[in-house]
Symmetry: C2
Amino acid sequence: MKKHNFSAGPSILPETVMKQASAAVQELDGIGLSLIEISHRSKEFIAIMDRAQKLALELTGLEGKGYQALFLQGGASTQFLMTAMNLMKSKAGYINTGAWSDKAIKEAKRYGEVIEIASSKEKNFNYIPKGVKIPADLDYLHITTNNTIFGTQFHALPQTEVPLIADMSSDIFSRELDYAAFDLFYAGAQKNMGPAGTTLVIVKDSLLEKMNDDVPSMMSYAIHAAKGSMFNTPPVFPVYTSMLTLEWLKNQGGIKAIQKHNETKAKLVYDEIDRNTAFVGFAAKEDRSYMNATFNLAEGIDGAAFDALWTAADISGIKGHRDVGGYRASIYNALPLKSVQLLVDIMQKFEKTL
Amino acid sequence: MKKHNFSAGPSILPETVMKQASAAVQELDGIGLSLIEISHRSKEFIAIMDRAQKLALELTGLEGKGYQALFLQGGASTQFLMTAMNLMKSKAGYINTGAWSDKAIKEAKRYGEVIEIASSKEKNFNYIPKGVKIPADLDYLHITTNNTIFGTQFHALPQTEVPLIADMSSDIFSRELDYAAFDLFYAGAQKNMGPAGTTLVIVKDSLLEKMNDDVPSMMSYAIHAAKGSMFNTPPVFPVYTSMLTLEWLKNQGGIKAIQKHNETKAKLVYDEIDRNTAFVGFAAKEDRSYMNATFNLAEGIDGAAFDALWTAADISGIKGHRDVGGYRASIYNALPLKSVQLLVDIMQKFEKTL
């Protein structure tokens, strides 16, 4: 009896991936050893790491285009630090679209001047600032492409000549995008890619060459790139499971196919939010996320009966983040359409009780 | 058909742990969700993290003694950086007993003066410097309690009044030790504790209070401690599997019982190294590690037949590190006595072919 998992992250992964990952913890591909007890220098794990890196580049259309894929540790939170340590010469620009941008800004301030180019903080981050003019003298511009907590997403990228850096933790591999517009982007695995414990960084070779030298080894993209993500022992299980998920995605038809699937799911839930008199959407319509649909109860509506209904229906993880309240349906790549349909049915059932 | 796994790390874990971990990837304790798709803020995962922390303190005898256990990311390599960032005011002492100490020293030099108090580098780290006088004005003294590559281990701790910091990556939880003599010790999980991807740090509260303030969030022990290792998304699977291993260790009778088991295994293999005319031990006898037994072929002996024998016997992972050559039998907590007995049999069989 599997629950319908709308968790914001760590979050649902494809069922076949969980089966394969589970089997590999017992024994990897008939080698007489578990995945988690083999050396990271074994030919088996080197093949896994290589395959994961190749799939990440292939799926984003960056293979052979002068990019490298790194699998690191420490989550996006460590990337807030590493991006600034490696790239800040004097000043960088940040577009502040939520709690995670805010944290990235805080860490970057240690290493230089941070210019908050635009922010939607005054409206509790319910929209994406648009038509923003980017100064030409920045070391880089940093954006958060999808804002998990607030349910907003960049649907058009800022136009700029300075290196574009993005935290894509909650929408990587979910949609076709001009990935080559970025000089570096990163994502904690635990939404669309794998279990918590590894972080994908995709970085342009030409940017690697311009990075600061005086950076501690574990914080240096150049060192991790030179060592093929094997400078130190990599997080074997999270990397393996990410590889499985990327393989699954490729078999689904890649990003193009999954985007269509995600659009169908998003349309279903947003249409219901807009139609249903018991709920109001949180994010500005034109900036709505295709990954996290945030919605609140309409004024005067008591949600207790709704909570009882979705709980009874084995729906899990739709409580909203405390900064927004209400509900959040995270509809990542691996979430089946039937789970979204069930949620919509429950929303309708609730409305009828009012 | 399970191989006999002598890998230096990632390395063997108890078979029951691998079974339980594998099952949890399918479904955690009948909750209708996989371990790797639940929120780290769920009551289930909070209980796992709490239990892992409690077991780490309990097993080292530090529960209720003013210590905290943290489960972080980034391996010992990140600890080389974090210890210095958080603790270095002006100068620190390091005892250099091998490649990992060397790396720790390199990272620490960014943050202050590093005094290499003693080193065994001139003998390719085949012994542990003893009778070392520790200056009283250091911010801390850093040692590596067990040297995986060279097969040496501190059997007596340096006497000092300054805070004692240790990298215990390859011998934590393997032997009774005055753990309260340390102010902070850390270990990558992937030897005696769990799969690669999490790092245990045990730190004294009184040391936490004296740490440097101006440290990036992800590098700050104080922040990780204040947030109960949940400042950012923890590596769920590695933490869970570490918890299972610590639970297993407790059920074995704790560190006291496992030490006896480890001593039996070490005696068996070292007695054979000393007896067998085909091999010579690498490390000085009095400093031999109870975790990694390093040995080379005796002069004029060709190892090809030995390699064929152990390979045919389904022994895995005994090739020595390139810095030492020869062989290394890593005999961590979870390695059964029968695997060591088999290796000894093969060593004897090889000798008879000469």
